[in-house]
Symmetry: C2
Subunit: 456 residues, 2 copies
C-alpha cells in the first residue's frame, strides 16, 4: 500500500514538474527549465517533458536549443523524440549522435528524413559517419540496427589477469555497461564468452580458454528483432554478440533494447487484434483516423455481407419479428467465443507454443471447447427465449443456431490465425475481422435458415 | 531468409527429438531419454519435452524419477512444470529446491499444495527451509517472491582490489550470474552500487565510495511485480536490489525474471480484452471452458439487454423489414470503433502514457476521432443503403444512427478503462464487455428510435 502511494506521488511529481516547466516556458525562461531537467534522472526528466502537450514540448526544445541533454533525448518516447529532433538544429543532432552508443544513434538517424540525414551525417567525423551509414544498410527491425559497436573481445590464450589489465588500460574507452567479454580467434570469429562475474571469481592466472562458455544465442546482423528477443527470453540473456554474414563478431545487443522490442511486439499484437493498424498511431486525431479507418472500411464491407445474408431471409423476418430481436444475441455470443479462441491462439503463437503436434492438439481442444460451451449456452439461451416468448419451436431453433455458431467460432478462432501464420502473414493482423465475419454469417445463416425450415 | 530456415529447422529438431523421446518412453527406455536430454541446452530440452502430449510428458518424468535435471525443470512452461512437480517424488522436489537459486525455488514451492509443501520443506535443511518459508509470507506477485537471496554486498570503505579479492575467495559461492555489486553501510542499508564493468575498468586502489553510483530503482519486498518491471524498463536495468520494510538489503532481482513478468502482464491484458479470464487457462478443454464461460455468461446477459432494446421497437421492425437487415451493421461498426479506442487506451494505460493532463488530452482526441470517423462512415453507409433500398429517409436515419454510435463508441472506449483504473480495477478486465454493450445499446436505440420517429 505504501508503494501505491509512493508511485502515485511520483506521477504527481511528474505532473508538478511539467507545470513548472510549462510556466517557465511561458515566462521565456529556458535557464530555469534546463536547471529543473538537470536535477532529475534522465528517465524522470523525459517523463516530465512527456506530460506537456506536444506544442509546449516543442517550444521547450526550441528554447533550449542544443541544450537538451542527449541522455534525456534518448529516454523520450518515440513520438516526442521525433518532435524534438525535428526542432533541434542540425549541429545539436550531430552532437547527440556522437555522444550516444551506436544503437541509440541509429534510432535517432531513423527518425530523420533522407535529406536531413545526409546533412547531419556530413557534420560527423568520417569514422562515425561511415559506421552509421553502414548500419542504416541493414534492414529495419534487424539485429544489425539494434546492436551497438561497443563491446569487449579478447583472444582465447589470454588469462583473467591480462583481461582485467586490458580493461583497466582501456578505462573510459570501454562501453559504460557490459556483462560479458567475448572470446575470439585471430579472424575475429566468436569462440565463446566469459561472464564478468566469472572473471571476478577466478584467479589472475586462469586461462580464458578454460573458463569460457559456449554461446547459447546465434544472432547475425540480418536476424529479425522478434527472433532476437525470443533468444534473449529463451536463454535468459543480459547481452548477446552479433555476427556478420561471414561469422565475424561485429556488435553486441543488450537486454534493455530487447525489453523495448518485446513491448513493441506485444503492443502490435494487441492493437492488431482490435483492428488498429499501427503501434504508434494514436497521437493526433489524424493519426487515429488513419490507423483505424482502413479496418473500419473493411468491416463496413463485411458487415454488409452479413446483412446480405439477413436479407435472404426477409420473408421469415417479415412474418416473425422475434427473429429480429434474437438474432443479435447469436451473433454477439458467437463473436465473443470466436474472439476468445483467437486471442488465446495469437498469444500462443507469439510465445511459440503452437508448433508441430501442439498445433494439432490445440485445434482439437478449441473444437471440443466450442462443443462444450456450445451445449451450455445453447441450452441457456433456449430457456431464456422460451420464458420470454413461450414458443418451444422458436427456442429450439434459437438454441440449435447458437450451438452451431459456437462450434464454428471455436474452429475459426484457431484455424484463421494458424493459416495466416502458415502463409507467412502476421496471425494477429486481419484475423479478428475474418473470425467475426465468419461467426456473424454463421449466426445469421443458421438462425434464420433453421427458422425458415422449421417455423414457416 | 536464411534465418527463417534455421529457425524452422530448430522447430523441426524439437519435434524430431520429441518423437525420439516419445518412442523411448513406449519402449520403456528411460536411459535413452536421459541421454537425449543431457545433450541439449536445458531450454532446448524443455522445448522438446513441451512438444509431447501432457500424458506422455508425465510418463517421461515418472520414468526418469529424480533424474529430471533441475535446470530443465525450471525452464519448462508453468503448466508442464506443475505437471512434473506433481509426479516427481518429494525427495526429488526437495533436491531441486536446494539446487536452485531462491527465486526459482519459490516458483516451484508456489506450485505445491499446502500439505505437500510442508512435507517437502521438512526434507530441506533448516536454513533453506526458514528462508523459503519466510519468502512464502510475502504476497504473491511481489518483489519478495521474485528476488533471489544470492547477491554481493560490500562496505563502502573497500577498494576495487579488496572487492575483487573477496570475490575470488568466495569463488563458487558467488551467485553464478550478477551484474553489479551493492555497497552497504554497517546496518546493511543500501548506499549505492558499482557495475562489474566499472570494477573491471578501475585500478585496484580506487575506493568504492568514489566510484559507486546512486540507485535509480527503489524496490522493497512488498512492491507489486508490475511496478518492479516498470522500473526495470524505465531505467534500463539488468538487475536491482530489494530492501525489506526497514530499508535493509535483502535480495536482488534480475532482468530475465522481469522479462517473464512483462510477457505475463501483456498476455493478461490481451486475453482480458478478449474476455478470457486467466493467462494460463487454455491447456485442457476444461481449463478453456472455465476461463471463458464466465465472460460468455455475462455477455449472454448483456446481449439479452440489447435485444430487449430491440424488442421495444417491435412495431417498427414489423412494418419495415429493412431495419432488421441494417441494424447489425450499425452494431458491428460501432463495436469495432469502440474496441479500437479501447485497445489503444488499455495499451497506453499499461505503458503509463495516460497520466495527468495526458488523459484529458486522450479523451478529447478519442471524441474527435469518433466525430471524424463517424462522419466518414455515416456518409458511407447511408450511400450504400440508398443504393440498396432506394429510400432516402431510411438512408438518412441509418447514417445518423451510425454517427451517434461512433461518437458514443469513441467516448466509451476511453472513459470505461480510465474509470476502471481510477476505481483501482484492471482497465483491461471487463472493459470490453462494457464498451460493446454500450455501443450495441446505442446502435439499436438510435437506429430503431430514429426510424420510429421519422419513418412511421
Amino acid at each position: 500500500m505504501s508503494e501505491e502511494i509512493r508511485s502515485e506521488d511520483k506521477d504527481e511529481r511528474a505532473d508538478r514538474l511539467a507545470s513548472e516547466i510549462a510556466d517557465a516556458v511561458v515566462d521565456g525562461d529556458p535557464d530555469s527549465v534546463a536547471q529543473t531537467l538537470a536535477e532529475l534522472h534522465p528517465a524522470d526528466a523525459a517523463d516530465a517533458l512527456e506530460q506537456l502537450p506536444r506544442e509546449t514540448f516543442e517550444t521547450v526544445v526550441e528554447q533550449l536549443g542544443g541544450e537538451l541533454p542527449t541522455e534525456i533525448l534518448i529516454e523520450l518516447r518515440d513520438e516526442y523524440r521525433e518532435s524534438a529532433v525535428d526542432v533541434l538544429p542540425d549541429e545539436a543532432v550531430a552532437e547527440a549522435l556522437e555522444e550516444l552508443d551506436s544503437d541509440d544513434a541509429t534510432a535517432i538517424l531513423e527518425d530523420l528524413e533522407d535529406e536531413r540525414r545526409d546533412r547531419v551525417l556530413e557534420e560527423l567525423d568520417p569514422t562515425d559517419r561511415a559506421d552509421l551509414e553502414q548500419r542504416m544498410e541493414y534492414g529495419e527491425e534487424t539485429a544489425g540496427r539494434l546492436m551497438q559497436r561497443e563491446y569487449v573481445a579478447v583472444p582465447e590464450f589470454w588469462t583473467v589477469g591480462q583481461t582485467i589489465d586490458h580493461a583497466r588500460e582501456l578505462g573510459e574507452e570501454l562501453p559504460e555497461q557490459f556483462y560479458e567479454v567475448y572470446v575470439v580467434d585471430p579472424g575475429h570469429r566468436l569462440l565463446g564468452f566469459v561472464l564478468l562475474a566469472q572473471l571476478l571469481r577466478c584467479a589472475r592466472d586462469v586461462k580464458l580458454s578454460d573458463i569460457m562458455e559456449n554461446l547459447e544465442s546465434d544472432i547475425s546482423v540480418d536476424l529479425d528483432q522478434e527472433e532476437v528477443a525470443y533468444q534473449f527470453q529463451k536463454y535468459s540473456l543480459a547481452s548477446a554478440p552479433v555476427k556478420d554474414e561471414t561469422g565475424r563478431l561485429v556488435g553486441m545487443i543488450t537486454v534493455d533494447d530487447m525489453v523495448d522490442v518485446i513491448q513493441l511486439e506485444n503492443t502490435e499484437d494487441l492493437l492488431a487484434l482490435s483492428n488498429v493498424s499501427s503501434a504508434d498511431g494514436s497521437h493526433t486525431v489524424w493519426d487515429s483516423v488513419r490507423a483505424r479507418s482502413p479496418w473500419l472500411a473493411i468491416n463496413l464491407f463485411t458487415a454488409f455481407v452479413a446483412s446480405g445474408i439477413i436479407a435472404l431471409f426477409e420473408g421469415a423476418l417479415d412474418q416473425i419479428v422475434q427473429l429480429a430481436i434474437l438474432m443479435p444475441v447469436v451473433a454477439a455470443l458467437g463473436g465473443n467465443a470466436g474472439s476468445q479462441g483467437l486471442a488465446v491462439a495469437v498469444r500462443a503463437i507469439a510465445e511459440r507454443e503452437l508448433q508441430g503436434t501442439a498445433a494439432r492438439r490445440a485445434v482439437m481442444r478449441e473444437f471440443l471447447t466450442g462443443i462444450v460451451n456450445g451445449v451450455l449456452f445453447a441450452v441457456g439461451v433456449a430457456i431464456i427465449a422460451f420464458v420470454w416468448f413461450r414458443d418451444p419451436e422458436l427456442s429450439v431453433v434459437f438454441g440449435a443456431a447458437m450451438f452451431a455458431t459456437f462450434v464454428w467460432a471455436g474452429i475459426s478462432g484457431i484455424l484463421v490465425p494458424l493459416t495466416l501464420k502458415r502463409l507467412g502473414a502476421d496471425p494477429a493482423v486481419a484475423s479478428s475481422v475474418f473470425v467475426l465475419t465468419m461467426t456473424d454469417i454463421m449466426a445469421f445463416f443458421s438462425f434464420l435458415g433453421l427458422a425458415t425450415l422449421v417455423l414457416l
